[in-house]
Subunit: 196 residues, 2 copies
DNA sequence: CTAACACCGGAATGGATCGTTCCGTTCCGC
DNA sequence: GCGGAACGGAACGATCCATTCCGGTGTTAG
């Protein structure tokens, strides 16, 4: 049997790979500067199991972040299917916030050097989000811009727990829809922490 | 002259004290785990100038946090004078958010052990905020509770810059006023990080 | 059945970081 | 001038952490 044997040791190794990724997400979301040993402990494996899969800490962080970015893009693509403009925007926002993708992509920034591919994906993600935003913009209060959305995502990332985040997304969406012109200037590039 | 000579040496020392506090606020708000040498550098003084004033790092953190707490209480007291219920609530919220008091009190939690006095002040602060909240509650969407306010403050703390924070307070206030019942349960004790 | 092997757990290592102490210097106030 | 408060910053010791290394273990091919 050359291909069918997904049993025994190989199975266990695959399980470990998944456990490591899950543990890493949990640990690094709670504290981006957590030691790598905390990830191993959380995953219930030894440190060497980790280093077997990733050359170093930075590579694991990169992987985590890139996964988040791809998830972001997937959510945007899924929401773009929705015909109703506001519903599409809401679906996108809820999807991204529920998965806590923003923490994955932004809070981990600076802990690693991004690859060219990631940079390209980041641009693509921004374009997709921009398209959804533009579709919904006529229904929003005046003065709201795409960078506001980024900052609102940042705010949501401060809330622990998917369910609780959903509670405040509701509040933010209502706040984004009603009301007059937003006061003050929108965030500028320096206030948004993107990758360089 | 026993009392009048606030010139020269003493003046400079007082200036340094202030510079240290300001620098500490800036540095520790940006990163609660920053080294104490960063504070000295930012303040333009040597490390010994710092240790002359505070027995250790923890004492400086405590001082910073307590100052924030007192500021919180002061803002609440000031807002309580306002006769209009919603205006009082808004004034309070804007005052607290503008001063970034929440970062001072919550993000620094865990970096020091609070004193009994601080704990008492924290209770007092919570009571005052609760009173303002109750006054405004009839004008809010159903389902909002005081713990929601705490979490909204937490969210605001994620926004850099006082002016930008004001922009989103406007949005949050509108979202807090309009709309239907908030979905899901409010934050529970574990999700709010208070001091023990 | 057994010999290689892939994988693993966790101790050991070497380097970086940081709180705190210490000492020589400066300069105000008399 | 002189005493001493206040200072700058080097030195020290402890802690933390990424990474490496080694001995053990279950699996699988033959």
């Amino acid at each position: 049997m050359t291909t069918s044997s997904t049993a025994g040791r190989a199975r266990q190794a695959a399980r470990n790979s998944e456990a490591i990724l899950t543990a890493a997400r949990e640990v690094f979301l709670a504290d981006p500067r957590a030691p790598i040993s905390a990830v191993a402990e959380r995953a219930g494996v030894g440190i060497s199991a980790l280093y077997r899969r990733y050359p170093g800490k930075e590579d694991l962080l990169r992987r985590l972040c890139h996964d988040g970015l791809l998830r972001f893009i997937a959510e945007a693509g899924r929401a773009a299917q929705e015909p109703d403009d506001w519903a599409a925007f809401e679906m996108f926002l809820r999807g991204v916030v529920e998965a806590d993708v923003h923490s994955l992509t932004v809070h981990l920034a600076g802990t690693f050097t991004p690859t060219a591919e990631m940079r390209a994906d980041a641009v693509r993600a921004n374009d997709l989000a921009g398209a959804l935003f533009e579709r919904a913009r006529p229904l929003m209060r005046p003065g709201a811009v795409l960078d506001d959305l980024t900052m609102l995502l940042e705010m949501c990332a401060a809330v622990p727990g998917a369910e609780l985040r959903g509670r405040y997304v509701t509040l933010l969406l209502d706040g984004l829809r009603g009301g007059g012109e937003l006061p003050g200037p929108p965030p500028n590039g320096a206030e948004l922490n993107r990758w360089r």
